[in-house]
C-alpha cells in the first residue's frame, strides 16, 4: 500500500508542473504569427498599389538591404534620432524634477511644459527650418521637441506623487535639499521617469520621419516617400515596419534598463517572477 501511494504521489508531481501557463513571449509570438498569416492571405488579393503583404515586403526588404540603400538610410535616420532623444532624456528629467519639487519653478515653468506637450509641432517645422536650416540640426530639434515633453511631464507628476513622509524621513535626518532630491525623490520617481521615456519612444520615431519628410528628403523617410511616389507599396512598408520594430525593441530595452535601475518596483508589484 505504501508503495502504491508513493508512485501515485510521484506521478502527480510532474502533472502539477505541466500546468504552468505558456511563457508570455510565446503568446506574443503566436499572436504576431497569426496576424502575419492573416495579412498574407488577404493581402494577396489586393491590388499591389493599394496594399501589400508580408512575403512581398520581405522580398523588397532583401532588395533594399542588398543595394545598401537600407543600411545608409538607417544610419542617416538614427543619428538625429539618438541625439534628439538622448538630449530629451538628459534635459527632460532634471527639468521635471525641479518643476515638481519647487512650487515657484512649477508656477513659472509648468504652464510651458503642459502647453508644449500639445504643441502642433508639424506646423512649426517650417519655422524651425528657417532657424536651423535643412540638415542634421533641424532633425535633432524636431525629435528633441517631440520627446522632451512626455519625459518632463511624467517626471514632474512622479515627483508630486512622492509620499510626503519619505521626504520627512530625509528632513528628520537633516538631509540637505539636493540630497533629498537625489537620494529620495529621484529614486521614488524612477518608475514614472521610465514610463515617460517609454512614451517618448513612439513620439521620437514619428518625429524622425516627419523631420525627414519636411527637410532634406533622407533616411528612412526618404525611402518611404520615394517608393510611395513610384507606387512601390511593398518597399514603402519596409521602413515603416523597421521603425515599428525599432520602437518595440527600444521599449524592451528600456524595460530591461528599468529592471536594472529600479528592481524594487517590479518586486513590489509582484512582476519579477514572470
Amino acid at each position: 500500500m505504501v508503495d502504491i501511494a508513493d508512485t501515485q504521489n510521484k506521478s502527480a508531481e510532474p502533472e502539477v508542473a505541466e500546468r504552468r501557463p505558456l511563457p508570455r513571449w510565446t503568446i506574443t509570438l503566436l499572436s504576431v504569427a497569426g496576424m502575419l498569416a492573416l495579412w498574407e492571405i488577404f493581402g494577396r488579393h489586393v491590388n499591389p498599389v493599394f496594399g501589400s503583404y508580408p512575403s512581398a515586403i520581405v522580398v523588397a526588404f532583401w532588395e533594399l538591404l542588398r543595394s545598401g540603400q537600407l543600411g545608409s538610410a538607417l544610419s542617416e535616420s538614427l543619428q538625429p534620432f539618438v541625439v534628439g532623444y538622448g538630449l530629451a532624456i538628459v534635459i527632460g528629467i532634471p527639468v521635471g524634477l525641479v518643476v515638481g519639487r519647487f512650487r515657484t519653478a512649477e508656477a513659472a515653468f509648468g504652464i510651458f511644459i503642459t502647453a508644449g506637450y500639445a504643441m502642433p509641432l508639424v506646423a512649426l517645422v517650417p519655422l524651425l527650418i528657417l532657424w536651423l536650416g535643412l540638415g542634421f540640426k533641424v532633425k535633432v530639434a524636431v525629435v528633441f521637441l517631440m520627446s522632451l515633453f512626455p519625459i518632463c511631464i511624467n517626471t514632474w507628476l512622479g515627483v508630486t506623487a512622492v509620499p510626503k513622509t519619505l521626504i520627512e524621513v530625509g528632513k528628520s535626518f537633516v538631509a540637505p535639499n539636493f540630497v533629498i532630491l537625489r537620494r529620495i525623490i529621484l529614486p521614488a520617481t524612477l518608475p514614472y521617469i521610465m514610463a515617460g521615456i517609454r512614451l517618448a519612444v513612439g513620439r521620437a520615431v514619428v518625429a524622425m520621419v516627419i523631420a525627414e519628410f519636411f527637410t532634406t528628403i533622407s533616411g528612412l523617410g526618404a525611402v518611404i516617400i520615394n517608393s510611395a511616389n513610384n507606387f512601390d507599396t511593398a518597399t514603402m512598408f519596409v521602413p515603416i515596419i523597421i521603425l515599428m520594430l525599432m520602437a518595440v525593441g527600444l521599449n524592451t530595452l528600456i524595460g530591461v534598463v528599468e529592471h536594472k535601475v529600479a528592481p524594487w518596483q517590479a518586486e513590489i508589484a509582484g512582476r519579477d517572477r514572470e
Partner: protein
C-alpha cells in the same frame, strides 16, 4: 544627557474645508519635561495634538508660540540630537535594511568602514543582523519597524521620538517589540518620548504618561512600576499596572463624554 522641555508651546493649523477656512488649535500652552533617560508616553484621543507635539519636538512643524528645548537648546528645525521613528517605519523602499540604517548615518557625515560597522551594530541590536540585505517589502511589519528603530538609534541621538511606532502591528508583534524597546532602553539609557493611543502600551513602557485632550495637557501621571520590567506578562498582572491603567482610562473616558 537628553532632556526635552516643552515650554508653553502652542500650534495652530489652518485648514480649508469646502472653501471655508478652519482654524484648528492643535496645541495650547503645552508644557512638560522629559528627563534624561526617562520614557514618557503621550496619550489621548485622536486629534488631541499628541502627534503634533512630537512633530514640533522633531522640528518638522514649527510652533506658533513657546519653544521646545533639548538640553536647554531651543529646537529650530531637525537635528541629529533627535531621532525619529515613524508610524509606518517609512523605510526607503529601494534600499536594503542595512542601507536604510546607513542613510541616517551618512546624513550625519559618517563614511567608510565606521559607517558599515555602526549600521551593523544597530541592526544587531534590534535582532536583524541576518536580514540586512533584504529590502523593506521583503520584511514583515515588525521587522520594518525594527529597522526604523535601528535607523533612529544609529545616529546616537539624545532623544528618541516615536510616533505610534507599534500602532500598525498585530498584537503579538506589538508585544514583543514593546519588550524589546524596554530592553534597548535598559541598554542605551536613551530618553524616549513616544506617542500612542494604546493605554496598555503607555503604562507598560512609560515612566510617566502625559494625558492630552484638545491640545492641552490634561494630566501627567506617574507609573508606579519599577524597572527593569523584564517580563511584561507579569507586569500586566500587577495591581499597580491595573490601577494606573484604570485611572487613565477614567480620564480619557471623562474627556470624551464631556465634549
Amino acid at each position: 544627557m537628553g532632556e526635552v522641555s516643552f515650554v508653553d508651546v502652542s500650534k495652530r493649523f489652518t485648514l480649508r474645508v469646502d472653501g471655508e477656512l478652519h482654524h484648528v488649535q492643535a496645541l495650547e500652552h503645552v508644557s512638560f519635561t522629559v528627563h534624561d533617560g526617562e520614557i514618557v508616553a503621550l496619550i489621548g484621543p485622536s486629534g488631541c495634538g499628541k502627534t503634533t507635539a512630537l512633530r514640533v519636538a522633531m522640528g518638522l512643524d514649527p510652533a506658533n508660540a513657546g519653544r521646545v528645548t533639548v538640553d536647554g537648546r531651543e529646537v529650530q528645525g531637525c537635528g541629529h540630537d533627535r531621532g525619529m521613528v515613524f508610524q509606518h517605519a517609512e523605510l526607503l523602499p529601494w534600499l536594503s535594511a542595512m542601507q536604510n540604517v546607513m542613510f541616517g548615518l551618512e546624513m550625519k557625515g559618517m563614511r567608510g568602514q565606521p559607517l558599515r560597522e555602526t549600521a551593523k551594530k544597530y541592526l544587531d541590536l534590534v535582532g536583524l543582523a541576518d536580514s540586512q540585505n533584504r529590502r523593506p517589502h521583503q520584511l514583515s511589519g515588525g521587522m520594518k519597524q525594527r529597522v526604523g528603530i535601528a535607523r533612529a538609534l544609529a545616529i546616537d541621538p539624545k532623544v528618541l521620538l516615536m510616533d505610534e511606532p507599534f500602532g500598525a502591528l498585530d498584537a503579538q508583534t506589538r508585544e514583543s517589540l514593546q519588550a524589546e524597546l524596554l530592553e534597548i532602553h535598559a541598554r542605551t539609557k536613551k530618553t524616549i518620548l513616544f506617542v500612542t493611543h494604546d493605554l496598555d502600551e503607555a503604562v507598560l513602557i512609560a515612566d510617566r504618561i502625559v494625558v492630552m485632550s484638545h491640545g492641552r495637557v490634561q494630566e501627567i501621571v506617574e507609573v508606579p512600576l519599577a524597572r527593569p520590567r523584564a517580563d511584561l506578562s507579569i507586569v500586566r498582572g500587577l495591581p499597580e499596572f491595573n490601577d494606573t491603567r484604570y485611572k487613565i482610562w477614567r480620564m480619557l473616558h471623562d474627556t470624551s463624554t464631556v465634549h
